[in-house]
C-alpha cells in the first residue's frame, strides 16, 4: 500500500474542521450570544484546505489506486471549496435571522463538502458510492435544517425517499458492472472494456465482442445514468428538484444547486468518459435525448413560475441540460468537450450562487404580521432598483449571465459548450441549445422587468451584513472577470481534463 498521506491533506483538514466546529459549538459557542465563531472556524478550515490544493503533486494515486489526485480532482475540489465558503458566508446572517444559528449546520456542511471532494478523487466505485452517500446524507439533514418549518421537513423527506431510490438504482448498476467486468475500479474497467473492443474488432470485422454488446452492460449503464441524472437533476429524474429547492433553507438551496451538481458531473466525466468510454455509442444517444429533454422542460416550466425560488430551481434543471450537452459532445471531441463542461460548471457555480444570494438577501414585509419575511414571489422584486440600485444591478449581472448575455461568464461558458457541440458534428444539438437559451431569456429578463420597470408593491429590505456582501461582490466580480478574460480559466480547465485520457 502506497501511503502518500499528503494527497489527502485537504480532506483531513476539512474533517478536522468539521469535528472542530462540532466540538467548539458544544463546549463554547453554545453558551455565547454571538455565534459567529462557528462560521469563522468553518471558513478558515476551508481556506486552509483551498490553499493546500495547488501545492499537492498532481497525478498521485494512493490506497492502492482507490483515490487519485489528478488536475481534474484538484480543479473540482477548488470549485467545491469556493462554493462551500460562499455558502458559509451567506448563511451567517440568514441563520441568525431565521433562529437556527447552530454549529451543526456548519459541521454537516463541511461533511457534505468532504463527500464531494471524495467523489472528485474517487477511482473506484466503492469510494464514489461512499462519497456520494456522505454528500447526500448531509444534504438530507441540511434540507430539513429548519425543522420547525413544515416545508423544510417535507423537502428533507422527499429528498430522502427519492435520493434513496436513486442510490439503489445506482448501486444495482454498479453491482451488474462488477459482475460483467470483474472489478469496481474505474481504470481497470476502462482497460478491460477497451481490451474487449480491440479483441472483438480483431476477430470479426465490424462486430463488437460479446462483452461489449452484453445486455447486462447496457442495463448497468442505464442504471448508473439514472442514479447520476438524479444527482444533477436531469429530466426523467428531476421531479424532486422544484419541491426540495423550494422547501429547503435558501442558503442550502443555493449550495444544493451547485455543489452536488458539480460532484455529479465530475463522477459522470470519470464514469462515462473513462470507465465506460468503450460504450460511448450507447450512452451518447441516451445522454443526447436526456440533454434535450432537460433543457426544454426546465426552460418551459420555468416560464410558468411565479415563485422565484421555484423558477431558479427549474432554471438549474435547464442548466444541467446544457452541461449534459457538453458531455455528449466530449464523446467525440474529448478535450474540448470536457474542458467546456468543466469551464461551464465553475461559471455556473458563481452565477447561480449569486442569483440565490440576492434572493436570500431580499426580505419583504408581511402585510398581516408586519414582520420581515423572505421574499419569494416575482411581485416582491418589483421596484427594487429604486429602493436598492446596487442589489438590483448585481441581480442584473447574474440574470444576464444565466441567460448568456456578454460580457458575462454565462455567455462564454455557453459559447464554449455550443462550439464543442459544433466541433463534434452535432450542430443540431447546438441549435437546440441556442433556441433554449433564447427561451430562457424570457423568464430571466422578466425578473429584471419587475426590478427596473415596476413600482414597488411591498416594503422591501435587503440584508446588509458584511459577510453576505463580501460573498456577493466576489461572485459578481468572478462572473464578470470570467466573462471578460475567459482564456485564463479555459486554459486551466483544458489542462485539468487532459490528464483524464
Amino acid at each position: 500500500m502506497n501511503l502518500n498521506w499528503t494527497a489527502i491533506l485537504p480532506e483531513i483538514f476539512i474533517t478536522l474542521t468539521a469535528l472542530g466546529v462540532l466540538g467548539i459549538d458544544l463546549f463554547y459557542t453554545r453558551y455565547q450570544k454571538d455565534k459567529t465563531l462557528n462560521a469563522i472556524v468553518t471558513l478558515s478550515g476551508m481556506g486552509i484546505a483551498f490553499l493546500l490544493l495547488p501545492f499537492l503533486s498532481a497525478k498521485t494515486q494512493i490506497f492502492t489506486s482507490l483515490f487519485v489526485l489528478d488536475p481534474l480532482a484538484i480543479f473540482f475540489k477548488m470549485v467545491f471549496l469556493i462554493s462551500g465558503s460562499m455558502t458559509a458566508l451567506i448563511s451567517i446572517n440568514y441563520l441568525k435571522m431565521e433562529g437556527f444559528d447552530l454549529g451543526e449546520y456548519y459541521g454537516v456542511l463541511l461533511f457534505s463538502i468532504l463527500g464531494m471532494m471524495v467523489m472528485a478523487s474517487a477511482n473506484d466505485f466503492i469510494l464514489i458510492y461512499l462519497g456520494l452517500e456522505l454528500m447526500t446524507v448531509s444534504f438530507y439533514v441540511l434540507s430539513g435544517f429548519f425543522k420547525t418549518d413544515l416545508r423544510s421537513n417535507e423537502a428533507a423527506l422527499k429528498y430522502l425517499i427519492l435520493g434513496g431510490f436513486a442510490s439503489a438504482l445506482f448501486l444495482y448498476g454498479i453491482s451488474l458492472l462488477y459482475g460483467v467486468t470483474g472489478s469496481t475500479e474505474i481504470s481497470y474497467i476502462a482497460g478491460y472494456l477497451t481490451e474487449q473492443t480491440r479483441t472483438g474488432a480483431d476477430s470479426v470485422a465490424g462486430v463488437t465482442s460479446a462483452v461489449l454488446s452484453h445486455p447486462l452492460l447496457s442495463l448497468s449503464l442505464i442504471m448508473l445514468l439514472a442514479g447520476l441524472c438524479f444527482k444533477v437533476a436531469a429530466v426523467p429524474f428531476h421531479m424532486w428538484t422544484p419541491d426540495v429547492y423550494e422547501g429547503a433553507p435558501t442558503s442550502v438551496t443555493a449550495f444544493m444547486s451547485v455543489g452536488p451538481k458539480a460532484a455529479g458531473f465530475v463522477v459522470m466525466l470519470r464514469v462515462l468518459l473513462v470507465a465506460l468510454g468503450a460504450l460511448e455509442k450507447q450512452w451518447m444517444v441516451i445522454l443526447a435525448v436526456i440533454s434535450i429533454l432537460t433543457m426544454t422542460l426546465g426552460n418551459i416550466v420555468a416560464i410558468a413560475q411565479q415563485n422565484v425560488k421555484r423558477m431558479l430551481a427549474y432554471s438549474s434543471i435547464a442548466h444541467a441540460g446544457y452541461i449534459l450537452l457538453g458531455i455528449v459532445a466530449s464523446a467525440r471531441v474529448l478535450t474540448a468537450g470536457s474542458a467546456s463542461v468543466v469551464f461551464y460548471i465553475l461559471s455556473y457555480a458563481f452565477m447561480n450562487l449569486g442569483a440565490f444570494t440576492v434572493l436570500l438577501a431580499l426580505r419583504k414585509e408581511d402585510k398581516q404580521t408586519g414582520l420581515m419575511v423572505p421574499a419569494m414571489d416575482l411581485e416582491d422584486f418589483s421596484g427594487l432598483s429604486k429602493r436598492d440600485p446596487l442589489t438590483a444591478f448585481l441581480m442584473l449581472i447574474f440574470m444576464f449571465s444565466l441567460t448568456g448575455i456578454p460580457p458575462t461568464a454565462g455567455f462564454v461558458g455557453k459559447f464554449y459548450l455550443f462550439m464543442s457541440a459544433v466541433d463534434a458534428n452535432l450542430v443540431w444539438l447546438a441549435v437546440i441549445g441556442v433556441i433554449n437559451s433564447a427561451i430562457s431569456a424570457y423568464y430571466y429578463l422578466r425578473i429584471l422587468v419587475y426590478i427596473y420597470m415596476k413600482e414597488p408593491k411591498v416594503v422591501q429590505s435587503v440584508d446588509n451584513s458584511s459577510s453576505l456582501w463580501v460573498a456577493l461582490y466576489v461572485m459578481a466580480l468572478a462572473t464578470l472577470l470570467i466573462g471578460i478574460l475567459p482564456n485564463l480559466l479555459f486554459n486551466v480547465a483544458r489542462a485539468s481534463v487532459v490528464s483524464l485520457f
Binding site: I8, F63, V108, V118, L127, V141, K147, T148, P215, L216
Partner: protein, 165 residues
C-alpha cells in the same frame, strides 16, 4: 441436490416475504415480513461463503435498521394514510414499466454465459476482510465512519426537541 433444496427454501422465504413487504396493506405485517426477507438473504449469503456478511446482515439489518423502522411504525401510526407518495404513479403503469424492465433483465441473465470458474474451497472470510479494511480499504472505511457520524449528528439534531426561536 441438498444445496438446491436449501437454496430453494431460502429463496422462497426471501421472495415471498419481500412481496409481503411491498404489497401488504398492513404496515405492521410489512415490517415483520422484512425480518424474514433479511433472514432469507442472510441464508443465501451463507450458501455463497459470506459467513461474516451473513452475521453482519442479521446484526445490522435485523438488529438495527428493522428495529428503527419498527419504531417508526409505532411512533407514527397515525400518519399511515397521509398521502406522501407520488400520486401520478398508479399501479398499472408502474407495473408495466417494472415488468418490462424485469423481463429485459431476466432475458439478459439467461442469455449470458456466466463464467463457471471452479468455485474455491470455502474458508472463513472474517480475518481476511478485517485485514483488507485496515490496509487496502482503509480510506473507504474511514469515510464510512464519517457517514455514520454525519447521520448521527443529523438525526439527533432533527429528532430532538424544538429549538427556541
Amino acid at each position: 441436490m441438498l444445496l438446491v433444496i436449501i437454496f430453494t427454501i431460502f429463496a422462497a422465504i426471501t421472495i415471498i416475504s419481500a412481496g409481503m413487504v411491498a404489497f401488504s396493506q398492513n404496515i405492521v405485517y410489512s415490517a415483520f415480513s422484512l425480518l424474514f426477507t433479511f433472514f432469507g438473504i442472510a441464508g443465501l449469503y451463507v450458501l455463497l461463503a459470506a459467513d461474516f456478511l451473513a452475521a453482519t446482515q442479521l446484526l445490522i439489518y435485523v438488529g438495527g435498521i428493522l428495529v428503527l423502522l419498527l419504531f417508526g411504525v409505532m411512533l407514527t401510526h397515525k400518519i399511515q394514510e397521509v398521502n406522501l407518495s407520488n400520486e401520478s404513479m398508479r399501479l398499472a403503469p408502474a407495473a408495466i414499466v417494472v415488468l418490462a424492465f424485469l423481463g429485459l433483465l431476466s432475458i439478459a441473465i439467461y442469455r449470458t454465459q456466466w463464467p463457471t470458474v471452479p468455485v474455491p474451497e470455502l474458508t472463513p472470510t472474517t480475518a481476511r476482510i478485517g485485514t483488507l479494511f485496515m490496509t487496502d480499504y482503509l480510506l473507504p472505511f474511514e469515510i464510512a465512519s464519517l457517514v455514520l457520524l454525519t447521520a448521527l449528528v443529523g438525526a439527533v439534531f432533527i429528532a430532538r426537541g424544538r429549538v427556541k426561536k
